[in-house]
C-alpha cells in the first residue's frame, strides 16, 4: 500500500468533502430576516410593474415565506427528482433488493447427491480435482445455463434465469450429525470467522472497497452483507425438520474405464439404499436416480462407450447421460483453458477451509478444457431440465392429489379436529399447556422426527418441493395447513420451520401483495418460529436464518413492511445471535431498511431518513471501533446522503450533542483512514493534538462559510430595502434583537 515516503497524494475518503458550515442558530424567524426579506422584496418587484389592480397580479410564481418548515425541501439542494419520481409501490426494488431476493430464492435449491465409482473419482483426480467428481461439477450446478421452465400446481409455467442445484457428495451426506454444536464448530462462530477473515484480507475485494452505488444513487447492498447472508443460508446441514438438504436426486456415476460397468452401477445403487452409505432414517428414500457414464476421450473408444450407454438406457431407463471428458489435467497455459467458476454456496466450515488454503497459497484455482466445461454444462442442463424438474413436478402433483387434498378436504379437517379433541380428552394429564398428549403418533418424540412416509413428513416435503420449484402459492398454503399440527405434536423444530417457511413463502409470492392483515400474520409467524427455534429448541443458527430472511424479505416488500424489517434486525442484535461484525452488519441493515422506505403517493412525509442516517452513523462508530475506517467512512458518507434531505443545512445538526458526536466521528474516521493509508496524521506540522487543530480549522471554515452565505443572501435584501437607514445595516452584525424592532 502507499507508504509515507511515496509522496503520492492521499486522497481522503469521499465523506470528508468540505467541512460543513455551521450556523449558530437557524431560527425560523431569523433575527436578520434575510430570507424573508429578499423574498418579499422579490414580491414587491414582481408586483410593481403589474397592473394597478392587485387582484389580477400575476400568480405565476408565488413567492412563499420560506421560513415555513414545509418549504424546506424545496430549498434543499438535494435533487428532488430522486425522491418524488420513485413514489411507486415497489420502491424497495430499487436498492438492490431484487438481488437479495434472487439470492434467497437460490438458497432454496434442490440438493442432488453424487455417488461416483472409484474409477470415476480416479479419473477426475487426475484432472486435478482432489475432491472427485462432485467437486468437479459442483460449481457448474449452481447456475444452470439458459432458462429453466417450471410449471406450477395450476399448470401455468414460468421461465427462470437463475435456477441451480446443489451437488453433495453422498459420502459426506448426513455424516456430521445435526446436533453437534460445540462452541468452536457452531456455524455461527464459523460465519463470524469467515467475515473476519474477509475483512482482514486487505486486498480482498470486500475489505477495501466502498460499496458501489447503482444508477439511482441508492447504495447497493454491501458485498460483505451478501457474503454474510449467503454463508448463513448455506450453514444449515441436512436435518429432519426440513427437507431442503435432502436429496431430490442422486447422480450415480461410472467411467468408461470400469471393467464391469452395469454391475458397478447396480452395486452403487444398492449401496445408497443399504449399507453404510445409506441415508439417515428421516430421509425419504424415494428420490430420483440418475446414471452417468463418463467417457474418457483420450484413452477409450467412443463406440464402446456408446454401446455401453445404450445398454445402460435399456437397463435403467431414460435418466442416463453420457458425459465425454478428457482425462488429462488442464493448465492455464493450454489454449482452450477455462477457469472453473468459484463455488458460491459453500458452508461456512468449507469456506473457512478454502480461505485458509488461499492464505497458504496452496489452492491453485483449477482449470478445465473448454470442451469439458461445455460438456458438463450441457449435462447439468439436461439433468435438471429433463429429469429433476419433471420429477419434482410430478411428485408435487401426486402428493398434492393423494395426501394434501385429503387433508384439505372435509374429512381431513374433521380428522385433525377429532384428533385434537381426542388428544385433549386423553391427555388431560398433560395439563393446560399442550392441547394434546401424544398427538397423531406419527411423531417419534424420542428421536425427534416423523417417519418419512407419515402424512406430516410428506406434506412438509411437498411444500419444500414447491418452494424449490418456486411455486410459493402452493408452498405457503401447504405450510399453513400443517404448521399447527406440528405444534399439537410438540414437534417444535418442525413447528418452527413450518412457520418460518410459511412466512417466507408468503413474502416470496409476488401475488400476495401487502394487505395490512397479511403483514401482521407474517410477523406473527416469524415471532412463533423464532420463539420455537430459540426457546424450545435452542437452535440459534436456524433462528438467525429465520430472522435474516424476515429482514430481507420484509425489506424487499417496501412500504410499512420495511419498518417491520428494521424491527426484526434490531431483534437480532438484541438476541445476541451475531458476533461483533454481524452486529454491525445488522446495524447497516436497519439503516438500509429505513432508507428504503420512501414517501408514499407523492406525500412529503413517510420516509425514515433520520432513522436511517442515525443507524448509519452508529454503524460507522462501530466499524471504527473494530478498526475499519474505510467501512466507517462509507457509512458516514451514506449517513450524510440520508441526512442531506432532512437537515436545514448540509451536515449541520440542530442538536448540539449530536453535532459534537458527528464531528468527532467524522474526525476520527478521517484520522484513522489516513493512518491506515500509511499517512501519519501526527506528522503534520503543528499537530500535537490532531483533534484540536481539526476543530479550530473546521471552525474557521464554518465562520467563513457563514459569512459567505450572509453576504449572498443578505445583500439583495439590503439593496432592495432601499432607503433603510444605517440602523438597518447594523442588524446584520448580530448585536441585539432589538434592532429588528427599530428597523420595522
Amino acid at each position: 500500500m502507499t507508504s509515507p515516503g511515496d509522496g503520492t497524494p492521499v486522497k481522503p475518503p469521499p465523506s470528508f468533502s468540505p467541512g460543513p458550515a455551521r450556523a449558530t442558530s437557524k431560527s425560523r424567524y431569523p433575527d436578520g430576516q434575510e430570507v424573508t426579506h429578499s423574498i418579499d422584496a422579490e414580491l414587491a418587484e414582481a408586483r410593481s410593474p403589474s397592473s394597478p389592480t392587485p387582484l389580477s397580479a400575476t400568480t405565476a410564481e408565488l413567492p412563499i415565506r420560506s421560513a415555513s418548515p414545509h418549504a424546506r425541501s424545496v430549498r434543499s439542494s438535494t435533487p428532488q427528482l430522486a425522491r418524488s419520481s420513485l413514489g411507486s409501490p415497489f420502491d424497495g426494488r430499487f436498492d438492490g433488493s431484487e438481488d437479495i431476493r434472487s439470492l434467497i430464492i437460490r438458497a432454496f435449491s434442490p440438493t442432488v447427491t453424487v455417488h461416483a465409482s472409484e474409477d470415476t473419482d480416479e479419473l477426475v483426480r487426475n484432472k486435478g480435482f482432489r475432491g472427485g467428481f462432485c467437486e468437479l461439477i459442483r460449481p457448474f450446478g449452481e447456475t444452470v445455463p439458459g432458462k429453466v421452465i417450471i410449471r406450477d400446481s395450476v399448470g401455468s409455467s414460468r421461465a427462470w434465469e437463475d435456477y441451480g442445484v446443489r451437488f453433495v457428495d453422498l459420502k459426506g451426506f448426513g455424516r456430521s450429525p445435526p446436533g453437534r454444536d460445540s462452541a468452536r464448530d457452531s456455524p455461527l462462530a464459523q460465519i463470524e470467522e469467515v467475515l473476519e477473515k474477509q475483512l482482514n484480507s486487505a486486498e480482498g475485494p470486500i475489505g477495501s472497497s466502498v460499496p458501489s452505488k447503482d444508477v439511482l444513487g441508492f447504495p447497493a447492498t454491501t458485498p460483505l452483507c451478501k457474503l454474510f447472508l449467503r454463508q448463513l443460508l448455506s450453514s444449515t446441514s441436512a436435518a429432519p425438520h426440513e427437507t431442503f438438504g435432502h436429496p431430490v436426486a442422486s447422480v450415480i456415476t461410472i467411467s468408461s474405464r470400469n471393467p464391469a460397468p452395469l454391475e458397478t452401477l447396480r452395486q452403487l445403487y444398492a449401496e445408497s439404499n443399504t449399507g453404510d452409505k445409506r441415508l439417515p432414517e428421516w430421509v425419504n428414500q424415494e428420490y430420483l436416480r440418475y446414471y452417468v457414464l463418463i467417457h474418457d476421450e483420450e484413452r477409450d473408444d467412443i463406440t464402446e462407450s456408446t454401446k455401453l450407454y445404450d445398454q445402460m438406457k435399456r437397463h435403467f431407463g431414460l435418466h442416463c447421460h453420457l458425459l465425454r471428458l478428457r482425462s488429462s489435467q488442464c493448465v492455464v497455459t493450454d489454449d482452450d483453458s477455462v477457469q472453473v467458476p468459484q463455488c458460491e454456496w459453500l458452508s461456512p466450515q468449507r469456506t473457512v477451509i478454502r480461505e485458509t488454503l488461499v492464505d497458504l497459497g496452496t489452492d491453485d484455482t483449477p482449470y478445465l478444457f473448454d470442451s469439458d466445461a461445455t460438456a458438463i454444462r450441457s449435462f447439468i442442463r439436461e439433468l435438471i431440465v429433463q429429469s429433476v424438474i419433471p420429477f419434482m413436478e410430478n411428485r408435487v402433483a401426486v402428493w398434492n392429489d393423494q395426501v394434501a387434498s385429503r387433508r384439505r378436504g372435509i374429512s381431513g379437517r374433521f380428522m385433525s379436529m377429532s384428533r385434537r379433541w381426542a388428544g385433549f380428552g386423553s391427555g388431560s394429564r398433560s395439563g393446560i399447556g399442550g392441547s394434546s398428549g401424544s398427538g397423531s403418533g406419527n411423531y417419534d418424540s424420542d428421536q425427534h422426527f416423523y417417519s418419512p412416509d407419515s402424512p406430516e413428513a410428506i406434506l412438509r416435503k411437498m411444500a419444500d418441493f414447491a418452494v424449490m420449484l418456486r411455486d410459493w402459492k402452493l408452498s405457503a398454503s401447504t405450510y399453513e395447513m400443517i404448521r399447527s399440527d406440528f405444534g399439537n405434536d410438540k414437534a417444535w423444530k418442525y413447528h418452527a420451520a413450518a412457520h418460518e417457511m410459511c412466512a417466507v413463502s408468503t413474502l416470496l409470492n409476488p401475488m400476495a401483495m401487502s394487505a395490512k392483515i397479511k403483514l401482521e400474520s407474517v410477523d406473527q409467524m416469524f415471532e412463533t418460529a423464532c420463539y420455537s427455534y430459540l426457546t424450545r429448541c435452542s437452535d440459534p443458527t436456524h433462528a438467525l436464518r429465520c430472522l435474516a430472511l424476515a429482514v430481507e424479505l420484509l425489506k424487499s416488500r417496501g412500504g410499512s413492511a420495511t419498518e417491520s424489517a428494521a424491527r426484526w434486525a434490531m431483534r437480532v442484535m438484541d438476541f445476541g445471535l451475531v458476533g461483533s461484525v454481524g452486529q454491525i452488519l445488522f446495524m447497516e441493515r436497519v439503516a438500509a431498511c429505513y432508507a428504503s422506505k420512501t414517501p408514499a403517493g407523492g406525500a412529503k412525509w413517510g420516509a425514515r431518513r433520520r432513522k436511517a442516517g442515525m443507524w448509519s452513523l452508529f454503524a460507522a462508530d462501530q466499524w471504527l471501533k473494530l478498526g475499519k475506517p474505510n467501512l466507517a467512512s462509507a457509512c458516514v458518507e451514506e449517513a450524510e446522503r440520508l441526512y442531506g434531505e432532512v437537515l436545514e443545512t448540509d451536515g449541520i445538526f440542530p442538536m448540539p450533542e449530536m453535532q459534537t458526536f458527528v464531528d468527532n466521528l467524522r474526525h476520527a474516521v478521517k484520522v484513522e483512514y489516513l493512518e491506515a493509508r500509511g499517512f501519519d496524521a501526527r506528522d503534520e506540522p503543528a499537530t500535537e493534538d490532531p483533534l484540536d487543530t481539526e476543530e479550530t480549522s473546521e471552525k474557521l471554515e464554518k465562520i467563513d462559510k457563514r459569512n459567505h452565505r450572509r453576504s449572498l443572501i443578505g445583500l439583495p435584501g439590503q439593496l432592495d430595502a432601499g432607503n433603510l437607514k444605517m440602523t438597518a445595516t447594523v442588524r446584520d452584525s448580530e448585536n441585539s434583537p432589538n434592532d429588528d424592532f427599530e428597523r420595522a
Binding site: 434490531m570 432513522k611 440542530p654 449530536m658
Partner: protein, 183 residues
C-alpha cells in the same frame, strides 16, 4: 423511569431541553438513562430520528397530543409527541429503568432483551411504569398540556420571538413542576 423532554422549533432547532426522572413512587426526580454518561447524545439522536414519525403523524392526526408515536427498541426508549398549532413540537422521551442486574450497556447489547416487562414490576407504583399503558398516555397528556400553557405564555411575551431558545428559569421551573406533578 427517566425522561428527556425537548421543544423543537418548526425548523427542528431545539429551543428547550430538560432531563429529569420520575418523582412518583419514591423517585428522586433524577434521570438515569441507560446510556453511559458519555453517550448522552443518544437521547438527541433518538428524539431527532422520531421526527420522521412526527412528520407523518402530523398530517394524519389532527390532535395536538399525538400520544406515543415511536419506540427505539435497543434502549427501550419511548417517544410521545405534542404539536402546538404554530408548529412547535414537544417531544418526550421516556425510558423505564434498567433491570438492577443488567450491566449498564450501551447500544445493541443483548441484556436489553425483555427488560421492559420486568422493570414494570420493579418500579411498581409509578404511574408511568409501563410506557404504553393508558395511564401513562393520560399522564403525559396532562404534562404536555401544562407545558403548553407555559409555552403560550412565553410566546405571548413581546421579547420572545418564535424559534428562539427559551431561557427563562421560571419556564424551566414550571416544566419541572409539571414533571413532578404528572410523571
Amino acid at each position: 423511569m427517566s425522561y428527556y423532554f425537548t421543544i423543537l422549533s418548526p425548523t427542528d432547532t431545539p429551543i428547550f431541553n430538560i432531563a429529569f426522572g420520575t418523582s412518583k413512587g419514591g423517585g428522586d426526580g433524577i434521570a438515569r438513562f441507560r446510556f453511559p454518561d458519555t453517550a448522552q447524545y443518544m437521547n438527541q439522536f433518538i428524539i431527532h430520528s422520531s421526527l420522521d414519525i412526527v412528520e407523518e403523524a402530523q398530517w394524519t392526526n389532527g390532535g395536538m397530543y399525538l400520544k406515543h408515536i415511536d419506540t427505539y427498541p435497543p434502549a427501550a426508549a419511548y417517544i410521545s409527541a405534542f404539536l402546538t398549532p404554530s408548529g412547535a413540537r414537544f417531544l418526550l422521551l421516556h425510558q423505564p429503568p434498567q433491570l438492577p442486574s443488567g450491566s449498564s450497556s450501551g447500544l445493541g447489547s443483548s441484556s436489553l432483551l425483555g427488560s421492559s416487562a420486568s422493570t414494570t414490576r420493579a418500579s411498581s407504583s409509578s404511574v408511568a411504569a409501563n410506557p404504553t399503558s393508558p395511564q401513562t398516555e393520560e399522564a403525559v397528556r396532562q404534562f404536555m398540556n401544562e407545558v403548553y400553557e407555559s409555552y403560550v405564555k412565553t410566546s405571548m411575551s413581546p421579547f420572545y420571538k418564535q424559534g428562539m431558545e427559551i431561557k427563562s428559569p421560571v419556564f424551566r421551573t414550571k416544566v419541572t413542576g409539571a414533571g413532578k406533578k404528572w410523571l
